[in-house]
């Protein structure tokens, strides 16, 4: 399947990406099915691998039932936390990247906070904010913030010295320089970081919903895991994946609209 796709004629460029992508996806599904049948008799480490069909059936059942309210609840937490985290990281990151003094004072604090998983904050978040909405937003916002801040600092710091010298030679005021040089450079990196943070923020939604396991995709995932229903677990994972994929696609579109020079040729 895959090799047939590889040798697709080069004369039809508008068909090739679709064909190849389809071939790759079909190949992966075939591999999965083969593994499911191969592991059916036990033997391997992974003894419980349902077929794609079983997962699909489970997914359809879920989609007819509580998927939509679960998804809406998860998305609400995610979006609120993500926006708060990105905004905070952009503001603080640019301040830290631009002022060596602020950077030196709070750099070590941020560096120390960064590798501490938002999951580790779960017990503290519960003690501080209880089992409600605030707790979830705090955890997601924190996760997003700690990813984006690195990009914001880097972006604000990594302005080419030539550009700075040129700008001061042209007689630009510090404010003009900030608006024309620093802000675009930093915000570009913030947007890249925001896209990376989609993943970690979305993952933290599971964690956050684990805290307050009332509803949401994460709560559903834990519930089916505890009943050892592997097909339902994988169906819930697929929902997470699909939602993340759609959000990423939307964000790519936004990024292309906002930062055309990044996706276009590097001529300018």
């Amino acid at each position: 399947m895959t090799t047939a796709g590889d040798r697709a004629p080069a004369g039809r460029p508008w068909v090739r990406p679709w064909l190849l992508g389809l071939a790759g996806s079909l190949g992966a599904i075939l591999f999965w099915t083969a593994m499911a049948f191969w592991l059916k008799g036990g033997g391997g480490v992974i003894s419980r691998l349902p077929t794609p069909l079983a997962v699909g059936v489970e997914l359809a059942t879920y989609a007819r039932g509580p998927l939509w309210p679960d998804l809406a609840a998860s998305l609400e937490v995610f979006l609120a936390g993500w926006l708060i985290g990105c905004t905070g990281a952009a503001v603080i990151g640019i301040a830290m990247g631009q002022s060596p003094l602020i950077g030196a004072i709070f750099g070590p604090v941020v560096e120390a906070l960064r590798p501490v998983s938002s999951i580790v904050w779960v017990p503290l978040a519960v003690v501080w904010f209880g089992f409600g909405f605030t707790s979830k937003i705090f955890l997601v916002g924190l996760a997003v913030f700690l990813v984006v801040i690195v990009y914001a600092i880097d972006g604000a710091r990594r302005i080419a010295p030539d550009l700075h010298r040129t700008a001061s030679m042209l007689g630009m005021t510090p404010l003009q320089r900030f608006r024309a040089l620093v802000l675009p450079g930093a915000l570009t990196e913030v947007l890249v970081g925001a896209r990376v943070a989609l993943m970690s923020g979305w993952g933290t939604v599971i964690v956050a919903e684990l805290v307050a396991a009332d509803f949401g995709l994460g709560a559903h995932l834990i519930a089916v895991q505890q009943s050892y229903d592997v097909a339902a677990v994988m169906a819930a994972m697929a929902c997470f994946g699909l939602a993340g994929f759609i959000m990423n696609a939307m964000f790519s579109l936004l990024e292309r609209r906002l930062l055309p020079w990044r996706s276009g040729g590097a001529t300018r």
């Binding site: 790759g24 060596p100 004072i105 750099g107 604090v109 998983s117 017990p123 880097d154 995932l221 994972m237």
Partner: protein, 251 residues
């Protein structure tokens, strides 16, 4: 100015820590918080000292580090390889792109329940999880870094008569190295997070287990102490990867 700032960098860093500690202590004093809610910095420090003296603590650290290192190396090497392949061969990118993109968004945390079902609370489950987390970060950053390589370099290399594999390794990979290096640093942080997360949900040993147990017995000082240790180790791991990357870049 910059030289003086460089010398006093440590002092300024300490100032930042002091500001945080002052805010922390001030919050407790102002709101009159119980130690279950927020223990004082001093009691957290005392708890930390007690932890450093216990053998069980170091065993937990060793378990977590072992899971991380194994997963990071496996995921990192595979991720860079696939990232280069995807960056160099449009056909490969188009074929496995959708699969990678779809899997990438099933974030590591979502895999935790499944790895517990599949591998139990063993070491294997955590290594798989870390490798998974690191792999996708490295594929994406490597690919991204390779697509931003100046096309002029490629044209020059072709003009100089370099073979495709030579261009990939000597031109593209080298030009993309800074991007890959920062990806490796980010992957270290994410991989370390995955270890702790996995241990939190289902494990028999490790720092995550230590914190879970502490939180269940409302030993908030131990929870915060454990978080600090995780932060220190994460920072050190990130720093070491950064050092290695800098050495590689200078080479």
């Amino acid at each position: 100015m910059t030289g003086r700032l460089g010398l006093s960098r440590i002092a300024l860093g300490l100032l930042g820590v002091a500001i945080v500690v002052a805010l922390w202590q001030g919050t407790i004093a102002y709101y009159g918080l119980a130690s279950i809610v927020l223990p004082t910095p001093l009691s957290v420090a005392a708890t930390l000292l007690k932890l450093f003296g216990s053998a069980a603590f170091w065993r937990d650290v060793a378990v977590s580090l072992k899971e991380f290192v194994l997963g990071y190396v496996i995921g990192g090497v595979l991720g860079i390889l696939v990232g280069v392949l995807v960056g160099e061969r449009p056909a490969v990118r188009m074929t496995i792109g959708p699969v990678i993109e779809a899997l990438r968004f099933i974030v590591p945390f979502a895999w935790i329940p499944l790895t517990v079902l599949w591998f139990g609370t063993s070491l294997t489950g955590k290594i798989v999880l870390v490798a998974y987390a690191v792999f996708f970060v490295m594929v994406v950053t490597t690919h991204r870094a390779m697509t931003t390589v100046d096309p002029v370099l490629t044209r020059v290399a072709i003009m100089l008569g370099m073979r495709e594999s030579e261009i990939a390794l000597k031109v593209h990979l080298r030009a993309a190295a800074p991007g890959i290096a920062s990806g490796a640093k980010a992957a270290a942080a994410i991989g370390w997070i995955a270890v702790v997360a996995a241990e939190y949900i289902g494990a028999s040993a490790g720092l995550g287990v230590m914190i879970t147990n502490a939180s269940m017995s409302l030993a908030t000082a131990t929870v915060i102490g454990g978080m600090i240790v995780i932060g220190i180790i994460g920072g050190m791991v990130s720093w070491l990867v950064g050092l290695a990357a800098a050495a590689w870049l200078n080479h």
